[in-house]
């Protein structure tokens, strides 16, 4: 994977959240699930459909482009073990499968963000963990 050139060992924030790019020119993909009965999609993947309340979902690889539904930014240190850059953007993104993902945004300047704008999935190095690995998360980036 080549998120950004780096000699460090890169590890995802959690296994099973997203797939690494399959090859050059390929993108990472978010791994979700979708209900075979009602069609609702979920991220991260879950066995039960929260709408039907039955075990009726199957894995689905989610689309990499979506539309920004809402957005904000974080301008101060946060709890929970995060040691990455500040400020950063956060938004909710509607993906083609009908799932609304709460996600980091690469853009934190809210004057450059607007509801409905097209955004695409990227992987983002976050910070070095205690084992010296570089943690990698996902974010959405405005499509120019």
């Amino acid at each position: 994977m080549s998120v950004v050139p780096s000699r460090k060992n890169q590890v995802p924030v959690q296994e099973g959240l997203f797939s690494m790019p399959a090859g050059p020119g390929e993108s990472a993909r978010l791994l979700g699930s979708r209900c075979k009965v009602c069609g609702e999609a979920f991220f991260p993947a879950q066995a039960m459909c929260a709408n039907c309340c039955t075990e009726t979902t199957e894995p689905v690889v989610l689309g990499t482009r979506g539309k920004l539904f809402s957005y904000t930014n974080v301008n101060h240190a946060v709890p929970g073990g995060y040691k990455g850059k500040i400020p950063f953007g956060v938004g909710t993104v509607d993906l083609p499968e009908g799932v609304r993902v709460t996600t980091r945004l690469t853009e934190h300047d809210t004057s450059k963000l607007r509801k409905g704008m097209e955004v695409e999935l990227v992987l983002e190095p976050l910070f070095e963990d205690e084992q010296g690995n570089e943690l990698v998360g996902f974010a959405f980036k405005p499509v120019r």
């Binding site: 924030v13 991260p44 904000t72 995060y82 609304r100």
Partner: protein, 383 residues
């Protein structure tokens, strides 16, 4: 089911009290409520304690020093709705005839700074997304985009809260602030600025309930629990799923929000509607929430929340006074106690004991809390 009335309320001021244990803070509120009701501890038959951060058996630790009478004590951790959940359990215990006198109280001594929430998945924490203002900012931005709500209207909420808080001896912040001071405070999560947010703090509040019939023996001014409802979000709401850490939402559905559904159930239980309310205490975690909940509780139509502020309708002397206590923005949020703090304010208002904050002629009041997990408590009180 029997009618249930509040015969006593108590409070330990909300604020920061270095060197004071949560047990002592809780005891002050409980003893205050016993004095207010005019009953000895030995008459209380069951107790329900709201608390989030004090660990195992918090309620037992508070009450063991009040008196060890062998009564059942139940600890409730339900985030912002903990106190409301405790009062609901106490009310149900009396309504069903299980007990005749029950205590509900909430107590909290919050760590300083942004709440280090455990209600998110680890991957969200590692991505820096495990802080509460994010979800509230996303909801507020959506409201601004959808209805044209402005940053000035957000600041007006905070102006009102601080103006009311200055009149409340139990509030943490007791100083009026100007619109400019609020608009010039640092941006936390756009569009929410520091002085638009409530701060975690310490405090406790308590209420003693008995049957409507018994209540007259203790007080000439019983306040009846007309409704006590608790709910969690339906799948497919615009707001609810952000509150449930680790889960996504639906871009295809727009189910009714948890506050809308829970308030509706409360209005039905009470046989009352928003037009009957004389005072409201609602979950103003930050000023965007206050505007959004005006609408979700039916105080105005969708998108009209900002206008209520422009018209001054929610001021103490307005058409529908909201957060006369100063709300969480001025009182701070001792999570387990905040809901019963609202009940304390409403009981004072309905008895005509709210001093400089007194609303003229209020007969019905509503308490609303909503928080982590999307849990939502709505309590309607009437005199």
């Amino acid at each position: 089911m029997r009618d249930v009335a509040i015969i006593g309320v108590g409070i330990h001021p909300f604020g920061r009290f270095a060197g004071k244990e949560f047990t002592e803070i809780g005891q002050v509120a409980v003893l205050d409520a016993l004095r207010d009701a005019g009953i000895p501890w030995k008459e209380v038959q069951a107790a329900f304690c709201g608390n989030m951060t004090s660990g195992t058996a918090a309620g037992h630790r508070v009450l063991a020093r009040v008196g060890m009478t062998g009564i059942p004590i139940v600890n409730v951790e339900n985030a912002c709705a903990s106190g409301g959940s405790a009062l609901r359990l106490a009310t149900q215990a009396v309504a069903t005839g299980l007990y005749d006198v029950a205590l509900a109280f909430g107590v909290e001594k919050m760590p300083r700074g942004f709440m280090a929430m455990t209600s998110y998945d680890r991957w969200q924490m590692l991505q820096g997304m495990a802080i509460n203002p994010i979800g509230m900012a996303l909801n507020t931005r959506w409201h601004m985009d959808t209805y044209g709500t402005t940053a000035i209207q957000l600041a007006k909420v905070s102006v009102k809260s601080h103006k009311n808080g200055a009149l409340n001896p139990n509030a943490m912040y007791r100083k009026a602030l100007s619109l400019e001071e609020i608009m010039n405070s640092p941006m936390v999560c756009d569009p929410l600025r520091l002085l638009m947010l409530c701060a975690p703090d310490e405090g406790a509040a308590a209420a003693i309930v008995t049957t409507g019939e018994n209540a007259r023996k203790y007080t000439s001014q019983p306040v009846f629990v007309a409704a006590a409802q608790l709910g969690s979000p339906l799948y497919g709401t615009t707001f609810g799923t952000i509150a449930v850490g680790g889960s996504s939402g639906s871009a295809r559905m727009s189910a009714p929000e948890v506050s809308v559904v829970t308030a509706q159930k409360a209005y039905e239980q009470a046989g009352l509607g928003p037009q009957d309310l004389g005072c409201v205490e609602l979950q103003d975690t930050e000023s965007g929430s206050e505007i959004i909940y005006y609408e979700q509780l039916g105080l105005c139509g969708p998108g009209e929340g900002g206008r209520l502020l422009d018209e001054g309708a929610t001021e103490i002397n307005g058409r529908i006074p909201v957060n006369t206590s100063g709300g969480l923005i001025a009182k701070g949020e001792p999570v387990g106690a905040s809901s019963l703090g609202q009940v304390h304010e409403l009981v004072l208002q309905l008895r005509g004991q709210a001093g400089q904050r007194q609303v003229a002629g209020a007969r019905v009041g509503l308490s609303h809390t909503v928080g982590a997990g999307g849990n939502c408590s709505v309590i309607i009180l009437k005199r």
